[in-house]
Assembly symmetry: C2
Homo-oligomer: 222 residues x 2
């Protein structure tokens, strides 16, 4: 594995695939991880062929070890096993957790885990020597997979302000407006909101997926 800036775990899925593509298009060095190194290699080859750039690949643990930043985009049911597999590889690193605690079949119902949020759960599973920031809970993977601008905002949560700012910038590099949302515990808001958005999509027949946009005059935080 060649070193890269950002490893996207679960990038054979919709959200991860779309993020990896947008970051690679923005010129960031990206590697695609999956439980199966073979699936990851296939997805990476397809992306590399489309964009005409190099895209790394490997098992989740392999790409996590080679990257500076690790984005985890797996379903809630796979969160624990995925984090256990990369725990040693991500010590001292920034992990972007995108997990939403959806519990099929009742995905339109908010069901936060006992820890209060999937993000706090990730921090507990990884330990204190990993910097967890959570984001990308409310963006439609379908919209993100296209090249058109996405009007939704990305709320970013984390206890380390510099790490959070890095993810706010990464949202920008993916063509989205990233916004500081406060402490990692605040991730509960965006995680819970996903179930509400799924409900809204069904109730109001939102074909391209509802998102959220903050209203009000926001002045740059920098």
């Amino acid at each position: 594995m060649v070193a890269c800036l950002i490893a996207v775990l679960g990038a054979t899925g919709d959200l991860g695939g779309a993020l990896a593509r947008r970051w690679a298009k923005a010129g960031l060095s990206v590697a695609i991880g999956s439980r199966s190194a073979e699936s990851a290699a296939k997805a990476a080859a397809a992306l590399a062929a489309e964009l005409g750039c190099e895209v790394g690949s490997g098992s989740n643990a392999e790409v996590a070890a080679a990257a500076e930043i690790v984005a985890v985009t797996v379903p809630f049911a796979a969160q624990e096993a995925t984090l256990a597999a990369i725990r040693d590889a991500v010590k001292g690193k920034l992990v972007i957790d995108t997990t939403v605690p959806l519990m099929p079949p009742k995905v339109m119902r908010v069901q936060l885990p006992p820890e209060g949020s999937a993000a706090v759960r990730a921090q507990r599973l990884l330990g204190a020597d990993v910097t967890v920031v959570s984001a990308f809970h409310n963006v439609s993977a379908e919209k993100l997979a296209r090249d058109a601008p996405v009007e939704g905002d990305v709320l970013v949560f984390g206890d380390d302000k510099a790490a959070r700012a890095r993810v706010v910038a990464l949202a920008g590099q993916a063509g989205l407006r990233g916004l500081h949302g406060g402490a990692l515990v605040n991730s509960a808001a965006a995680e819970a909101l996903t179930s509400v958005l799924i409900f809204v999509n069904k109730t109001y027949q939102v074909e391209d997926g509802a998102g959220i946009r903050l209203t009000g005059h926001l002045v740059s935080a920098d």
Copy 2:
């Protein structure tokens, strides 16, 4: 107390006052409740003088008894006592709970109650023969107090669809876009989001208060 459509409890506060004023302006018969009947009478007289219409007033229990719909707009710390005071008066009625579980001094930190949300807590405190719907968590009381249009959406949660639709309509009568947000447990999303919005207001110097707007093409639910 003359019968009225909607009693607003805590209407001597910012959110309650603004809602009572908007509903009264829309022609709905409104009564203002407070722990102190005297404070309520003063607020009602001021509103009646401004709008040139009748506005009822009384203690929380008095106006709750006289109304068809009861909106509770008190701080989290006052929720339990307020609901205990009106419990008998609201049997069989629709109660709109607007409570956000803010726990000063850490109001920028999401701190959901053990029940999961203030709305579910309200339902438990009132009992099963009261229909609780929650809403108005993310609207800036300051913006609502003015006559200018407010661009934020109001997410409405409740297990009774007809009651929820009634509150969606009441949001519309207050000049806001009300949206069905699903089951009462989903209220956790909007309640948690309020702490995020307070954080955003501070971080991004949002003077008039951030709100949320759902993106995507929403088709009428009716």
